[in-house]
Symmetry: C2
Subunit: 340 residues, 2 copies
DNA sequence: GAAAATCAGGCAATCGATTGCTTAAATTTG
DNA sequence: CAAATTTAAGCAATCGATTGCCTGATTTTC
C-alpha cells in the first residue's frame, strides 16, 4: 500500500519512460505506441492511479470549486437551494465550498475572504440580513470572481441575481384573502434593510390598492425575524382597536412564531385570524395550524438556476467571450393553499 | 484593474528582483534588506496581493479542505452538525466541501470519489441509511485520507467515530415513562441496517428488562424512516389487541409522522398515547403536540468533536507521529422533557 | 539506395509559491 | 591590506499534470 496516491511520475519511472509519455498514453494520444499505451494503462489500473484534480486545475488556473454563502442551512428553504446547486454542480464536476453567515456581516466577510483566497471559480451568495455595506462584494468584482446572488440579494447595480417573483404572488395572496371576505389585512414584514422586505411592502400596498382596499399604516409592522421581535409585532397588531382578520407574514418561520403567539393569546387560528405566508416550508406540513396559504418559491429550482447562470458565466469567460450583460432572473412563484 | 489576482512573480518583475526575494520579503526573512522589504510590502499592498492558498497548499501536498458527506441538510440535526464543523474548521483555516447522499448509496459513492480526486485532507461522514457495502470507505484507508464518522456510522473495525450515547438515554427515557405509569411501551425503530437502530433496539430491550417489564415482540416495529412506512408501523401498533400507551420513536421526524397519523385516527396525543423520541429537533418547538420528551444529542457539539478529532489526526500525521489508536467517542445525551 | 515521411517518445516550460544552497558584494577583523 | 565574516539576494528544484516543440529511429516512396 503506497503512502500516497500514485502519480504520473511514479508510473513513468517504473516503466522507464518520460512523464509526458505517460500522460499522453493515458490520454490515448496518437504519438504513443500501442505497446507503451497498454503498459501504462495497465500499470495505472494496478496502482489505482487517479489524476490529481488539483494539479490539473491549478495548471488551468481553475479550482473547480464554487463557494456558496448563505445565512442558515437550518432553514429548509436554503437547504433545498443547496440541493439544487449541488445536483448541477456535481454533474458538471464542480464541488461546493460552503459557509453560513448566520446573519452576521463579519462572518460573511470572513467566509468570503477565505473562499477568495482559495480561489473559488465563482460564488453563489444569499446575503445576511444584517449586511449593510457591500464593499466585500465589490471586491469580488475586482478579483474577477463571478457571483450570482439568490433570494436575498444586495441592492447593487450590475449584479447577477435569481429571485422569485413576489409581486404577482402578493396580488394572488391578497386576492385569495379578499375572496374569503377579509378586508382588514395586516402584514408582518421583515427588516427594511432587506430588499425582499421592501419588495413585499411595495407589493402589499399596490395589491391593496388594486383591490381598492384602504390600508392603514398600523397594519404594516415589521420583525427582525427573531421570535421575540415577531411576538412584539403580533402584540402590536392584536392591541389595535380593530385587529386584522388576516395576516401576511414575511415567511413561514415568522408565521409560525406569530401563530404560536396568537395561540397563547387564545386566538383561534383560521377562525379569528387567518395567516398566509411566503416560502411554503415543509415544516408547515407537521403543524396543526399552519398558514392557510403560502407562496411556494421553488428553492430547489432557484438553486439550479443560480448555478446554471454561474456556470454559463464561467464558460463564456473561459471561451474568451465574456457576456457583458447582467442576468437578473425572476422565477415564478405559486400560491399553495392548504386544505383545512 | 488587473485581469487576475496579483502574483509574486508580478511583484518581483516590477521591482526587478527575484521571486524568491519577494517571497522572503513578505515573510520578513532575515536575508532581505530593509529597503527591499519595504518596497515589496508596499507594492503588495498596492496590488492587493493575496497569496494563492492553492499554490501553497499544493506544494505542501495539502488542500486545506475537509469533505463532509451526510444524508440531508434539511434535517436540523445535520444542519447543526455542519455548523459545529464549520466553526472549528474555518477558525483553523480549513474549508468545507459539502455533499448530501440523500440516503442513496450510489450518490454517496460518487461524492466520495469526487472529493477523493479533489484530494481533501480528511473527511467527515454520516452514512446513508441505504448503504450496504463499505468498500468505498475502505478505499479511503488505502488513499490515506483520514475519516471520522459521526452519528450514522458503519460497522467496521478500525474507524474513528463520534456518536451519542443512547443506552443511558434510553434507560432514562423508559424510566420517565414508567414513572408516569406506562407499562405498555412500544418502539418504532429505524431500519435494521443502521447500527443506530440496532443500538436502540438493544437499549430498549435491556431497559425494559432492567425495569422488569415484559415486552412483546409486537410492540417493536420498524420504519424505513419514510412517512408512509412510519404510518404503516403506527397502523400495526394501533391494531394490536392491546395498543401501547407510550411510543418511543427512532427520531423526531418519525415521531412527527407517527403523531400525524395518530391524530388522523382521532387519538389524543399525551392522553391516549404519549410519544417520546430522539434528537430534540427544533422543529418540535413549533408543534402543538410534540413528543413529550426527546433525547437531546447535541449535534453542534458532535460536529465540533468530529472535526477536532479529524484535525488532530491530520496534525499528528503531519508531524510524522501518526496516532495508531482509534477514537470512538460517545457523547453524553440528555433527556429533554417538554412541559405540557 | 537516398530523400522524405511517419512514428514514438523525450525535453522543458508552465501554473504560484516556498526553500535549501550558492554567490557576489560589503563590511569587519586581525 | 588581506582574510574572514556578514549582508543581501539569486538560482533552481519542487509539488502533479499538460503540451508545444524537438529529435532519433523506422518505414515508405521514388
Amino acid at each position: 500500500m503506497e503512502p500516497r496516491p500514485a502519480t504520473l511520475k511514479e508510473i513513468a519511472q517504473k516503466l522507464n519512460i518520460s512523464v509526458s509519455s505517460a500522460s499522453r498514453a493515458l490520454h490515448d494520444h496518437a504519438s504513443i505506441g500501442l505497446r507503451t499505451k497498454m503498459r501504462v494503462q495497465q500499470l495505472a489500473k494496478e496502482l489505482n492511479y487517479q489524476p490529481n484534480q488539483n494539479a490539473i486545475l491549478f495548471k488551468k488556473r481553475k479550482t473547480g470549486m464554487i463557494g456558496v454563502i448563505l445565512p442558515f442551512l437550518s432553514q429548509d428553504f436554503f437547504a433545498a437551494v443547496v440541493s439544487g446547486i449541488e445536483d448541477i454542480a456535481y454533474s458538471r464536476n464542480y464541488t461546493l465550498l460552503l459557509g453560513q453567515s448566520r446573519d452576521d456581516e463579519q462572518r460573511e466577510r470572513r467566509i468570503l475572504e477565505t473562499m477568495k483566497n482559495h480561489r473559488v471559480d465563482g460564488m453563489l451568495i444569499s446575503i445576511s440580513k444584517n449586511t449593510s455595506a457591500y464593499d466585500h462584494f465589490e471586491s469580488l468584482k475586482s478579483s474577477h470572481i463571478p457571483v450570482v446572488f439568490f433570494d436575498r440579494i444586495p441592492e447593487l447595480p450590475g449584479i447577477h441575481s435569481i429571485t422569485s417573483e413576489l409581486g404577482p404572488g402578493m396580488l394572488e395572496m391578497i386576492g385569495f384573502l379578499i375572496k374569503r371576505k377579509h378586508r382588514h389585512i395586516a402584514m408582518i414584514n421583515g427588516p427594511e434593510s432587506l430588499p425582499a422586505s421592501r419588495e413585499r411592502r411595495t407589493g402589499y400596498l399596490s395589491a391593496l390598492k388594486k383591490h381598492r382596499i384602504k390600508g392603514s399604516p398600523d397594519l404594516l409592522v415589521s420583525s427582525d425575524l427573531s421570535a421575540e421581535s415577531t411576538h412584539e409585532a403580533m402584540r402590536r397588531l392584536l392591541s389595535l382597536k380593530r385587529p386584522p382578520t388576516a395576516i401576511i407574514s414575511f415567511n413561514d418561520y415568522v408565521a409560525l412564531d406569530a401563530i404560536r403567539y396568537a395561540k397563547k393569546k387564545k386566538i383561534r387560528i383560521n377562525k379569528d385570524i387567518i395567516f398566509v405566508s411566503f416560502a411554503n416550508e415543509p415544516v408547515c406540513n407537521y403543524m396543526d395550524d399552519p398558514p392557510l396559504a403560502s407562496l411556494e418559491q421553488f428553492p430547489y429550482q432557484q438553486g439550479e438556476k443560480a448555478i446554471e447562470v454561474l456556470l454559463q458565466l464561467l464558460h463564456s469567460i473561459e471561451e474568451g467571450t465574456p457576456d457583458p450583460s447582467f442576468h437578473n432572473i425572476l422565477l415564478k412563484s405559486q400560491l399553495i393553499i392548504r386544505e383545512e
